[in-house]
Point group: D2
Chain length 369, copies 4
C-alpha cells in the first residue's frame, strides 16, 4: 500500500547525510545515544502501523491435527494440550495478531489439567463436545458449545471434561504476548488439587440475571463476577435486539460481553463480543486501532480484510490487525450468521489510543484485490 | 422507647437556665441567632432518629376505593388518577415513609394520561391488568403484572392502557418529598402528544441481555438505559440464585435492580429490589439508615417492624422507617414469597450516611409487642 | 412574587370538590390514604421552591454577644460555646438556610473542647485570633485568620486555643439539619483525650503541594486528605488566576476548595469556595438549586438577593436560598473583596438536582425593591 | 542470574522430542499453527522478565554533543533537534528502557519549532537555560530549570526560546515505543503557526493553587489541566513533607505529579515523580513491574540497580528496567539530593499488572557486584 503522506515537509526530519554528520552519529553511538532525526520519521508514522497480516485458519484443516495432539501428548506432559495459531509476521511473540494469542485446546472425557495462574488473562470459547468445565478460583462452571468463559489475571484455573462427557475442543484467547511485552507476566503452579469454594455454577447462577445484582454481595475485583456467558441466553438476546435495532453499519447487531458491575469489558486487558449478521447482510468497511480475533459461531460468509476476501464457516478463526479496513458478509439469504470475537480494545481505549475511520470510497465497500 | 444514652456527660450540653442566660437568649433572638447549647442535644441525637412510623396498607381495603376513583374523576381532570398512601407522621409532606411517596394508580382500557416531566424520579410496580404501557422519552414499553419500570428524573413520561387491555393498577414510587425538601423540584407539561422515538419495547429488547451491552451504543444519562425489568426474567433469576446461595440473613435471596452500565441503582435517588423468602423462611432482624416501601409480589407472611407484627399477602404495601429493626417471615411451608421494595438508599449511601446494625438479642428475632 | 405558571391546563390537577368526592376523601383518610389530585399541584411545583428567606447577620452586632458567651458558660457545660444563626423561616430545624447550619464559636486561650464525632460533617472558617487549632482524627492543625478547615463525617474532632494564643472566633458550618432530615445523624463522645497520631500540621504539610500527591500514601476515605486550606496560599492563587481569567459573570474569580485526589468537593455533603470580586466588580444575577452561606473575608460591598440589597463588610455572614436570584458588588474602586462560602451543592449535584438560570432582564442586574 | 524456578514440574511443558512429534510440528507449521508446549515455558515465565538493561548517561559526556547538534542541523531540517538515549538492548525500538523513549533537546535563543501532534504523549524536564517555552494547544507556558511540563496525547505543541533567553536544554520523555508497539501512533503537522488561545501561562496560573479548582471551569480531557509543575513550588513542597513524614523506605520523600481533577497521573500512559533523598539517606532495595527513567535534579549520589552501582550527579540520566532491584543513595552528608523520574506505571497499573517485591536479604541492601 502506497504511503499517502509526504515526509518532505516542515515538521518532519529532512536532514541529508554529510561526512561531518556521519562522524557525529558514530560519536553519539559510543555514548548510548543517537540523533533523533535519523529515526524520527520511522518511529513517528503518519498513521497507525501494524506488523501483523490478516489470516484465516480453516477449522476443517486444523481439527484433525488438534485431535491428534491428544494421542501424542498427555495433559501432564504438555501443561495444556493446545495447538496455537500464529500470525506469519508475529512468530517471534507467538501472537495470532498484534499482542493477542489464540489456540485450540482439546480435552478428552475424564481428563483434567492441573491448576495454575498467571498475570496474563485468558478466555475460552467452546467449539465442540459436552461435559466440559472450567474451575476459576474454586468455582466450577459447566460449559456448552458457543459458551464464553473467562479466567482473569491471577485467578487459579484448570479445565477438564467429565467422564461421561464428549471430547471438548475450545478456543483459548490470552494476552500473553502483551503481558510479556509489558514485562509483567508471571506463573505459578497450584500446589495440589484446587478445592471447590462454591456450589457448581455459582457465578452464572448468581450474577446471570439481566440488570440484577445480589444486594448482599461485595465484589472488589477488577474483572466481571460473571464468569460464563451462555449461548442459550446470548443468542436470544441478539435476536431480541435485532427486532428493534438497525445495528452498526460495520458490525450488524453486536453486543459486548460486559462486567455487570461496570458496563465495561469483562477483563482489564481483553474485551469480547458476539455479533449477528442478518440473512444477506453486508456491512460497510471501517478500520480502527486495536486487534481482533474472530471465530464463526454460526452460519457462513466472508470478510474483506485489507482488500482481500476471507471465506469462513462455523468454527473457522480469523483475525483483523490494527488499522486495517474490514467488512463482513453473511452469505446466506435465509439464516443469520454469528461471529464471536475477542480483542485488546480495553487496552487501546483505557490508554487513550482508540481511533476509527470509515471507508468512504465505493459506497463503503472495499474493492477486492 | 427509652433513650439508652445519657446527656449528663462531658461533650453534651448541660447548661442550666438562669435569669442572666434567659436575657441573653432573648437578645440573641432579636439578631436572628440562638445559643447552640439550648438545642444541641436535640439536633445531635445519639442515634439516627426517624419521624415516620411503620405502616401497612391492606390491598383488600384499598382496591375498591382505588377503582372507584376511576368513576369519580377522569385522568384529564386529575392529572393522574392516584390514591396515595400517607404515613401517619408524614402527612405534612405527603410521604409514605421518610421522604418517599407512594400511590396506587388506576387506568382503564383506552385511557391515557398526558405527558409531563419533573425533577422528581418515579418508578412503577404493576399490580393488576393487561395491556398497560408507559412511554419514557419517546420509548413505549408494555407492562405486565410484577414488572418494574422506571421514569427517571426529567424524562417525559405518560401511561395508558390499550383499548383491548384490562384495567391496570400499579404502584407508583416517587422521591417527590425529598426533591421538594431539597428545594429542587420542577414540573413541565408536554406540549401535545409525545411522539414515539423508538420501536415498541426498544429499551428492554436492547439492554435486557444479561451481561450484554450493545457495542455501538453510547449512553451518557445518569440512570439505567434498561427501563423495564420483567417479572418473567426476574423471578427465574431469583430461583437460580436460590440454588447456590444461602442468601442474606436479613433478606433471604435479594437482588437489586441495577443499571447494567454501572452495577449501581437504577436512578440516582431511588433504588429497588426484589427478594425471595423461601418456604418457611424467617429472617433475622437488623436496622439501617434509609427508608423502604414494600409490596408483596407473591405469597403471604408477615414482617416484624419495630417490635410489632404486620401480616401481608399479595399486593399489600408496607413501610420500614430509617433505623427501625425489621425481619421478614414467609408463612407458607411449601411456596416461596416475594417482596418488591424501593428505597432511598442511593441517597443515603452516596452521601456517606449508611450504617447498619444487627439485632443481637434473642438469637436475632425481635420480641413482638 | 406572582407565580408565573397556570394550573388550569391539561396535565395539572383540576378537580372541583363535590359532596361525593368529599365523602370519598374521608373514606380514604381512614385507610391512611388520600387522593393525589388534592395535593398534586402543591407537591409538584412548576419551579424549585425554597422555604428559606435571604438573611444577613452583621458581625458588629453579634461579636459582643458571641464574646459574652465565654463569660456565661464554659466549654464543659456547653459542649461547644456557639451562637448559631437561624433563618427566620427555618427555626424548626435550626438552619441558617435550607438544610445548612452555621454558628459562631468562641474559644479563649488555654481552653479546649472534648472530642466527639457525628455523621454530620463540619467545616470552620477562622474569623479572629491566633493560636487556634483543630484536632481531626489525631491530626492537630494550627489555624490562622481566613483559613478553612474540615472535620468530616465521623472523624473525631476537638478544638482549642494555645495558652499563649489570642481568643479565637470562627464560623462553623454543618449539615446537621440535612443529616437529621435524612434520619441518619448520630453522636459519640470520645472516651478520654484524643491522642495525637501524626506530627503537628501533618495533613497540610503532606497534601498541600499543588498537583502533588505522596507516591507512597494510600487514602480510601470519601473526603479530602487535605484538612486545611491556608489563606496564605488561597489568596495568592486567586490573584494569580485573576491575571489570566475573566472569571465567572456571576461570581468573579471563584475557586472551589477541592479534594486533591478527586477534584471534587472536600466532603460528600458540603462544598466550599472562595471568590474574589475585583475592584468595582458588579456581577450579573443568576439563580440555581442549592443553598449557600457566605462570609465576607476581605473588603466590603453588597449583594442583591431576591431583589433586595444586603450590605456586607469583613466578617458579616449572609445566605442565599435555593432558586433565588443573586448578584454581588464590590464597593471599593481600588481594593478587591473576597467572599468565603459553603453550600450543599455536592448533595444537589450528586443527586442530579442541579439547575441554573441566568437573570435575563435589565442586562442581568436585578431591580432593587 | 540463575533462574530459581524449575520447569520439571506438573503444570509446565515437559514434552521430549520424538520423530513423530517433529513431523507433527512441521505439519502444524504449514497451517500457520504450532504446538503450545514447544513454546509455553518460554512465553510463560515464572517471574516478570525484562529485555532492557540498566544504563546511565553522564551529562558531562553528552552535553557537548547535544550543543553541537545545534551547529549541525536546524530545527527546520531536524523536525526537533534531539539527541536520544537508547538502551543497549532496545535499539530496535529506540527506547531508553522498556517502551519509554527519552532524548535531550537543545534550542537556541530565537529558535522555535513548528507545531505538530501525535497519539504518543510527551513530557519535558528543563535542564538548562532561560526564556524557554512550550505551546500546548494554544497555551504558551514559560519554563525554568527543573520545571516539569506535559504535552499530552494529540495536543498541538511546539517549543522555543525567546530572543533574549539563553540556550535551553531539556529532557524529553515520550511513550513513542509503546504507542508504536500498540500500533496506534499517528502524526500531524500544524498548518501554519499555532495561534495563542489563552494568556501567557494561563494553565499554571489557573490550576496551580493547591486544592483549588476554578468553580466555573469544565474540563473533559483525560489528562491534567495543569500543564506545568514549577520547581519553585515542587521543591518547597518536598521540604514541607519531609518535616512530618518518614518517607518511603525505597524512595525517601517522593511525590507524584498528579492531575488535580483526579489525583491520578498527569497523562494516561506516563507518570512522573520528584523525590528527595535526605542528607546521607540510603534507601532499601525493591523491584516492581514498570520501567523508570531518572534525571538527577539536585545533588549527587548513586543507585544500585540489579546489583551494580551507578553514580550520578545533577543532570545525569539513568534507567531502571521492570522487575530489577534498585536502591538510591545520597552521598552528601549535608545537602539533600533530588531525582526527577518518569515511568509507564499508569499503563502497568491500569491494566492490573503492577506487582512489587522488597529485597529481603542483607537488611534490604543489595550486594554490589
Amino acid at each position: 500500500m502506497k504511503e499517502p503522506f509526504n515526509d518532505d515537509v516542515i515538521g518532519r526530519a529532512r536532514v541529508k547525510d554529510t561526512p561531518e554528520l556521519e562522524a557525529y552519529y558514530k560519536e553519539l553511538e559510543t555514548l548510548g545515544a543517537g540523533a533523533l532525526w535519523t529515526v524520527a520519521n520511522d518511529i513517528e508514522p503518519w498513521e497507525p502501523r501494524t506488523s501483523s497480516v490478516p489470516m484465516l485458519w480453516k477449522y476443517e484443516n486444523l481439527r484433525e491435527l488438534v485431535l491428534k495432539s491428544s494421542e501424542l501428548v498427555t495433559p501432564e506432559q504438555a501443561g495444556r494440550r493446545v495447538v496455537y495459531l500464529v500470525n506469519d509476521k508475529r512468530k517471534d511473540v507467538s501472537a495470532a495478531v498484534g499482542w493477542l494469542y489464540t489456540g485450540i485446546q482439546v480435552t478428552r472425557p475424564g481428563e483434567s489439567t492441573s491448576a495454575h495462574r498467571h498475570k496474563a488473562s485468558a478466555l475460552r470459547f467452546i467449539m465442540e463436545g459436552s461435559g466440559g468445565y472450567t474451575v476459576v478460583d474454586g468455582n466450577k462452571i459447566m460449559l456448552e458449545v458457543n459458551d464464553f468463559v473467562i479466567t482473569p489475571n491471577s485467578t487459579w484455573h484448570e479445565h477438564g471434561v467429565e467422564e461421561n462427557g464428549k471430547t471438548c475442543i475450545w478456543q483459548d484467547g490470552l494476552d500473553i504476548p502483551l503481558v510479556n511485552a509489558l514485562e509483567a507476566n508471571d506463573y505459578a503452579v497450584f500446589d495440589g488439587k484446587q478445592p471447590l469454594e462454591a456450589p457448581l455454577n455459582y457465578s452464572p447462577l448468581t450474577y446471570g440475571g439481566a440488570g440484577l445484582i445480589p444486594a448482599d454481595k461485595v465484589w472488589d475485583k477488577p474483572y466481571s463476577p460473571l464468569f460464563k456467558y451462555s449461548w442459550k441466553s446470548v443468542y436470544p438476546a441478539l435476536l431480541e435486539a435485532a427486532k428493534v435495532n438497525e445495528g452498526s453499519p460495520y458490525d450488524g447487531i453486536i453486543m459486548d460481553y460486559t462486567n455487570p458491575l461496570t458496563g465495561g469489558p469483562v477483563m482489564q486487558t481483553m474485551g469480547a463480543s458476539m455479533q449477528l449478521l442478518r440473512a444477506g447482510e453486508h456491512t460497510k468497511a471501517h478500520k480502527h486501532t486495536g486487534s481482533i480475533v474472530y471465530q464463526c459461531a454460526k452460519g457462513h460468509g466472508y470478510s474483506v480484510i485489507g482488500g482481500k476476501r476471507y471465506d469462513w464457516k462455523e468454527r473457522d478463526i480469523f483475525c483483523v490487525p490494527s488499522w486495517v479496513y474490514h467488512e463482513h458478509v453473511n452469505l446466506s439469504e435465509t439464516e443469520d450468521a454469528c461471529l464471536f470475537s475477542f480483542n485488546d480494545l480495553p487496552v487501546i481505549k483505557s490508554l487513550g489510543l482508540y481511533q476509527e475511520k470509515a471507508y468512504l470510497e465505493n459506497n463503503g465497500y472495499q474493492k477486492i484485490n
